[in-house]
């Protein structure tokens, strides 16, 4: 069987499974739709949280990013797991005790203000849509490369599936589909990693293989990788390029941002008790750690294999995957020294970095480019980092079914996250904006109908993002975490741990955190990207890490404004007391 046929079978089988689960778990009430009737077992919720959390970015992009960033890539590993410790210890149990439907719900009630609630809905929608755009790109890449359908068709199929189980099943449908999706995605991630680990180091467990010697050689994999990367003009793989302060701030922004992401927090509203919420955070972190400790091993293997398989190869005999990805437009080769061989080294191969292809072919059959070569270095290839995980099994020449499995896993990761995000968007619209603010007279049945309608509309908008992806998808990801850290985390944390915080403090804090972080990112990413480097950054902190400063600012403003204005009313103090009791 061909790889393509296998991929169709795997993807078809998993999609059928998801639809089956959706039919079985239809939502009957708003309680079912928003929080799955609070009846989810902690282990199931742990898996669902893990699938919700691990998006196309974790599954497809992260290992590729780390492969090229080396030790600097650690920010993603620590940031996206360490946030769960904060979530488990500081937020999840208390918010579960609060026992309502959404994150803006908590902010609205704790700060006794519909302005605070609306501000929270605004932040939530902005963060969630930013995130969804990235998922859709992941779906598009998998479809176009492995099923050889048009990206648009791929996005529409993906949307149809999500529509089916999110609109019908609400949180209940999503939860049980996510459990299935977690199993698919983790299996799809571990199988190729184990294969490659055995091939390269003889160790079955990638986490160990990563620190072992290469097969038939007394040299450690990481030492060899350090040597090779240095020879090619990069900084050694296991050394940092970024400054410590920047690494510190990016890690912190990702950690606090993770803890403040509404679609993750809301998962803890679905379990039966406070104790179950604590346990469930632990299970979620184990399930996530399984992928996150494998990822850096995959990165190191992939970087090594990549260099081995293309360096100094004549283009005419280069591996198939290289040409396939070139067709998709995610690899490009510019023969700078005109020797017909691929040369890979540090620096960007092309001016303007991203390739723009001409319709013509060069003398070896390569796609010709409009871009002028960047002559300040010898590097001749452009490789999009998003392809590393998908290309890895091909680069290591694994059998076709492994490649098919990875495609199904990538789709599971992207769809599960998209569904979770769509749900928080729709519930914040139907519950916080309609029921709690503008249309308090609607019945539960009507609210449920509005929840379904807003889920459908949100899916439509997400689909448009997928078909016409905004050119800045990769850049706005920093937004989602930075903003969550600078807005939600302080408001939620202080809401629980500092009784005296009043609405004036919380609102000004969130607003300033939002404005400061957003302006910094917009300035360096969109208005003046030419000076986006450490000479111009505030204290050497990149836009990716600025959320930590925004968060600090939020804390300072919230506390000082609060101390100057009058304390919150008694019923709020009682609410906080109640949340603190298990």
């Amino acid at each position: 069987m061909t790889t393509q046929l296998l991929t169709y079978i795997f993807v078809g089988a998993t999609f059928t499974l998801y639809i089956g689960i959706a039919l079985w778990s239809r939502a009957k009430s708003t309680n079912d739709f928003y929080i799955a009737g609070k009846g989810v077992h902690p282990i199931a919720n742990g898996m669902a949280t893990a699938a919700d959390w691990m998006s196309a970015a974790s599954f497809l992009s992260m290992a590729g990013l780390i492969a090229f960033l080396g030790k600097d890539g650690s920010v993603y590993l620590m940031g996206w797991t360490g946030g769960y410790v904060l979530l488990a210890l500081l937020l999840a149990p208390y918010l579960r005790k609060f026992g309502k439907f959404t994150v803006p719900d908590f902010i609205g009630e704790r700060y006794y203000s519909s302005t605070a609630r609306k501000l929270a809905v605004l932040c939530l929608i902005f963060i969630s849509f930013t995130y969804i755009a990235g998922q859709m790109r992941g779906v598009g890449i998998v479809f176009s490369r492995f099923l050889e359908v048009d990206i648009n068709t791929g996005v529409i199929v993906g949307m149809a599936i999500v529509f089916f189980y999110a609109v019908l099943g609400g949180m209940k449908g999503i939860t049980y589909t996510q459990v299935a999706q977690y199993c698919v995605l983790i299996f799809a991630y571990l199988v190729p990693a184990i294969f490659i680990s055995i091939l390269m180091t003889g160790e079955v467990i990638p986490q160990i293989g990563f620190g072992s010697t290469l097969v038939d050689s007394p040299i450690y994999l990481l030492d060899k990788l350090d040597q090779v990367t240095k020879d090619l003009g990069f900084v050694a793989y296991t050394e940092n390029v970024k400054t410590n302060i920047d690494i510190f701030c990016i890690t912190a922004a990702l950690m606090f941002g993770t803890a403040g992401l509404p679609h993750v927090i809301v998962r803890f509203f679905t379990v039966p008790s406070v104790g179950a919420a604590r346990q469930s955070a632990g299970y979620a972190l184990i399930f996530i750690a399984l992928l996150y400790t494998t990822a850096p091993a995959v990165s190191a293997f992939a970087r090594m294999n990549l260099i081995d398989s293309i360096q100094d190869q004549p283009y005419s005999t280069s591996p198939n995957w290289f040409k396939n990805w070139e067709e998709i437009g995610l690899i490009a080769w510019k023969d700078k020294n005109e020797d017909g061989k691929i040369k890979y080294s540090s620096g960007s191969a092309l001016e303007d970095i991203k390739p723009k292809y001409l319709d013509e072919r060069g003398e070896y059959g390569e796609r010709l480019l409009q871009n002028k070569p960047n002559l300040s270095n010898e590097n001749e290839i452009y490789i999009d980092r998003d392809i590393i995980v998908l290309a890895n099994p091909e680069i290591a020449q694994l059998p076709g079914w492994v490649i098919a499995l990875v495609a199904a896993g990538g789709l599971a990761a992207a769809l599960s996250t998209a569904a979770g995000l769509l749900l928080v968007i729709s519930s914040s619209v139907s519950h916080d904006l309609l029921k709690k603010t503008y249309m308090p007279q609607i019945t539960e049945k009507q609210e449920l109908r509005y929840a379904r309608i807003s889920a459908a509309v949100a899916i439509g908008i997400a689909g448009i993002f997928g078909i016409y992806p905004p050119a800045f998808v990769a850049q706005v990801v920093a937004f989602a975490f930075g903003l969550a850290a600078a807005t939600f985390f302080p408001a939620l944390f202080l809401g629980i741990f500092y009784k005296r915080l009043n609405k004036e403090g919380a609102i000004t804090g969130m607003l300033l955190g939002l404005i400061f972080t957003a302006s910094y990112i917009i300035y360096f990413k969109f208005i003046n990207p030419a000076i986006n480097n450490s000479d111009f950054w505030f204290m050497g902190i990149s836009p990716e890490g600025i959320g930590s400063v925004g968060m600090l600012l939020n804390f300072i403003i919230a506390l000082s404004v609060s101390s100057l204005t009058k304390p919150p009313p008694d019923e709020v103090l009682e609410l906080v007391d109640d949340i603190r009791r298990p």
Binding site: L77, P93, G211, I286, T293, P296, R581, P582
Partner: protein, 85 residues
Amino acid sequence: MNEKNNKYWKANLKIVISLLIIWFISSFGFGIIFSDYLDQIKFGGFKLGFWFAQQGSIYIFVILVFLYVWLMKRLDKKFSEEEDS
């Protein structure tokens, strides 16, 4: 009643703060600030600072959350028993 709640809350804060100190040291400490220094030590093919940044900190996070579950369960039990007596 109120005094009991205060006591519970203080005990809770103590658990959370001590676990967060370990959280900070294992990630921001060993993985970032002292990472280069720890890199002088090697075990197997790993430099220690690099290992903490890409592996060790994550294992410690998992342990911390389960430790928290266990400590809180014990605390909850202790306080609900006091209520009965």
